[in-house]
């Protein structure tokens, strides 16, 4: 009986480990001091924001235009997109996560990149904002690119 239970515990433990190993890889980053993550599969790279051209009269979410390997890309302020634009911070040393939103190559401005995290299905699924799919035990808010596409800035037909 003991043997049987041990065997079962081993199998369960294995399954647990497997789940961790096969979890979806996310890139964890900071917005101000909060931790967020986006699925790695949707990201094309990370670049340092150097010489961002501000656009006078633009929507506040549009941080500016950046030359990314010869392409002019719009860089959006992820913090503002999420509606958390309370504290002001310097953008000089921030990074842009390169991705595609509704077919448009863009960059999302973040404060700092922390690293990779494999997320299994066991997360708190109560969404903390309309763009998140949940929150990990360690307090990382998981975001979703498809949900960001529903932001009024992107879903309204650009006029």
């Amino acid at each position: 009986m003991d043997e049987l239970l041990r065997e079962r515990a081993r199998t369960l433990a294995n399954r647990e480990r497997q789940e961790v190993d096969t979890g979806t890889p996310y890139l964890v980053f900071l917005l101000a001091s909060e931790r967020y993550a986006l699925p790695l599969a949707g990201l094309a790279g990370v670049v340092k924001i150097d010489r961002l051209t501000a656009v006078p009269g633009s929507a506040p979410e549009l941080a500016g235009l950046l030359n990314v390997r010869g392409e002019v890309r719009p860089i959006y302020d992820l913090k503002r997109l999420l509606g958390r634009d309370g504290e002001e911070e310097s953008w000089t040393n921030s990074l842009a996560l390169l991705t595609t939103l509704s077919g448009l190559a863009i960059g999302l401005k973040v404060s700092e990149v922390e690293g990779l995290l494999k997320v299994s299905s066991r997360v708190d699924e109560r969404a903390t904002s309309s763009y998140s799919t949940g929150r990990t035990e360690t307090g990382v808010t998981l975001l979703d690119i498809q949900l960001l596409e529903r932001h009024p800035l992107f879903s309204e037909e650009a006029s």
Partner: protein
Amino acid sequence: MSDLQARLLEAFKIECPEHLRGIRRTLRALEGGADSDDTFYDILRHAHTLKGAARAAGLAPVERAAHDLESVFSAARSDAVKPSNSLLQAVYHLLDLIETWVSSDPSARPELPEISELQKDASRTEPVEGRPLASTAESSSTSVRLSEAALDSILLRAGEVMTQNTVHRADISRLRELLKGLHELKSSLNGKAEESGRVEVLETLCREVVQEQQARSTRFHRTAKQLFQAVSEARLVQAEGVLSGMGRMVREVARTQGKNVRYLELGLDTKVDRAVLQELKVPVMHALRNAVYHGIEPPEQRVQAGKSEIGTVELSLQLREASLVVTIADDGRGLQEEEILRKAREHGLSGSLEELLTSPQLTTAEEVTDIAGRGLGLSVARQAVDSLQGTLQVSSQPGLGSKFCFEVPVTIFSRLLVFVSCLGQLFALQGHAVHALLEIEFDRLETVEGRQMLRVDGELIPIAELRELIAQGYPAARQRNRLPVVVLQQGARKTALVVDGFESCRKMMIRPCSVPGMPTDRIAGTVLREDGAVCLVLSVPYLLRRTATDSAFTITRAQEVSVSEPEHDWPASILVVDDSITTRTLERSILETNGYHVLVAVDGIEALRMLEQNPVDLVISDVEMPNLDGFGLLERMKEDQDLRRIPVVLLTSRRNVEDQKKGLELGAEAYLVKQEFDQVNLLETVRQLV
């Protein structure tokens, strides 16, 4: 269906959605409360062009519907009445029906009822039926050819590859300096065999690297240039492909007008950039239609005037250097200049004949018909020509005919841009709209009816601060009361803008940039500068509109006027060309200390490249240099239309009368000998020349 018909239809299918989108966008603006004349004008312009395009493609129902749209908004515009919601809904409905009609099989096309009927329906069956999803209309498109955007993108990258090579060459120049330094170091180590030997090894290594890189750069440049040319040529198409539907339109207009017209086409095999042709298509269409409608007289009148019963309308295309000249000529009654001027006075307009003819407020048609007569045609032409940075000339002889001549660049690849600084950032303005760059004293501003104005060429024009136009709430912190001013002009409208400074003029390619959150009304696009920075191109129509309508701008006097203003506010730029780093450094420091802006180049080739990219007021060049010497540089400059007028001072160690004579014969303004070279001498020469 004939091949031609099929092509016309195909072209229409591409063009139609653009106009529908344009009208929908403006309808949304109306719903949002916009009610300016410009808003109505926007709808009218799209409807008018759609009508013409539909006629050319032989789609009478769409043509009728577009005419209906035009009538409805023309009425709303002249009554200055905001259209009711039910009317707007009916218009949305009609646009949807047009969209479906165009994308459907001929057998399954819906009726295109009149807007008034749709309005009745709408009030009966609220809520209004939702618009079909755009995808249903677009999914029927089976076009598989290479899109223009893809071709543009390839061309853009080919251009960038060439720019990259310039950066590479600058690196090679630096390597050359290193090589030279090593050589000098070796010479100075006379007698110290061991050190000298080590430096020699480094020198050899460095020389090899320079040679390899130079060869690589040359190969790379050649390939990049070939690539660029190949892609540029791929964009060229025979004008026939785009302009071939015109004959049919001319004949149809003639038939409905009861006129006998012979239509001639010349030079339709000319190869031109497709984008240029697309842009010209509508203006050409309007000009041809006007020629038949306004120009050619009815047969009996022609006979009375002793002319042939059959009138002639001719479309001809011709290449003149880098320009395409499109001429639309007729042998009709000529322009009724008096009638035009009279109408202009009635509307309180003034300006040249071209300006009046292309003004959206003016029409000389006696009655409103579906052919012409709302005066929109030629204002559309004006816009197209402006956006292509071309010119439009109108000439006419009473009783003998009139001629419209469009001259536009063959390719739209590079545009002249004027860079100005404002708010610590560089902005570009399209060169064709820049009338003048001035520096004025604050006291030159005049106040007329509470508005600040500037007198330019005897004319009072509004003046405003650029920083206020593009970002309100940034007060100008001016140090001085001398204002750098850009005078912009489009058609008859002029405006002056105070900027923080002038930077440079350069030819570059503008990339369109309409991304979510972008204020596309005020930003016309972006350019990528050589240093990798993104620079915004400001929309000239926006700037003109804002200064004309908004009178709240004030330019304030500087708080403190600095006591000693430098003599040159916009310092003269001097290009120093010398292969010796020491001479370059020396000259640079002397000139910069005396307030000049100094650029340097290591040989004639680099100098030419820099002259291409930078405005330069004076060149001081060594004679003996690698690659291209001072004489060679001088010769090339004198052969160039633009560079010819830049004065050149030759500076050399040779005290050779023959050389001096050669230099002066080639057109050098002065010749300084290095042995006699001193600061006073150099500065005196420079002062005389700039």
